[in-house]
Symmetry: C2
């Protein structure tokens, strides 16, 4: 049994690696998160994205509350071996907690001295109906 492949990843000083989740097919970048060693191992084991929540300081099986899990199609590592790219199928088509397809919905408009970020992507589902808050 060899988990040497996990040693090839250059974990940062917090034991984490940045992860980009990209939708297979459309190639849309849906979200960005972090993994620790356990999260990456679990992701491979389950075939679904498991991240490390830096705010909650625990493993976060994406979609555990919303049902919007991410089925892993492919896992890539970059040239410096310190960034992971996940190609995924996004269950429910919604990756963002705001109810949008992608987290990258704010677009820069303007110039250096007069710019702004505009929300340019639609909310597909009311977040309150995604997370069943009792």
């Amino acid at each position: 049994m060899s988990t040497l492949w996990l040693n090839k990843v250059k974990w940062d000083e917090h034991g984490l690696v940045p992860v980009i989740a990209q939708e297979a097919g459309s190639n849309d970048v849906l979200m960005f998160a972090w993994m620790n060693r356990d999260a990456l191992a679990k992701t491979v084991e389950l075939g679904e994205a498991v991240y490390w929540s830096r705010s909650r300081k625990k493993l976060w099986h994406k979609g555990e509350e919303s049902g919007h899990t991410q089925k892993v199609i492919e896992i890539r590592l970059d040239c410096d071996e310190d960034v992971v790219l996940l190609k995924i199928q996004q269950v429910g088509d919604i990756a963002c907690h705001t109810g949008r397809h992608s987290c990258f919905f704010q677009k820069f408009e303007g110039t250096r001295v007069g710019g702004e970020w505009l929300a340019v992507e639609p909310v597909l589902k009311d977040p309150e109906t995604i997370y069943k808050l009792d």
Copy 2:
């Protein structure tokens, strides 16, 4: 003159933000890097990607040595306002210092207990001819 848009970005404890560079058209994820406030301002000003090199601790106008600059088509910010997505046109079609199109050329194959990373994308140009080292 307002650079308030720069204040909307949540810079980390080092004053940096992670940046994903995605090729316009193909939607391929080409690389991942970091920007500080100056780098993002310069990127908007020049219309070309300028990153912060954490190893060299200075601004890094991508392509300054190789000629493989990145023309910025669009800039996006995520829901948490702490990750930037650049849509770019990659001059020379090569983003990676290894001479490949994308930095994400290593693909995971196997299982949790017996996996490996395989280089699955071709080198398009010998790195020694990209960087004219005298």
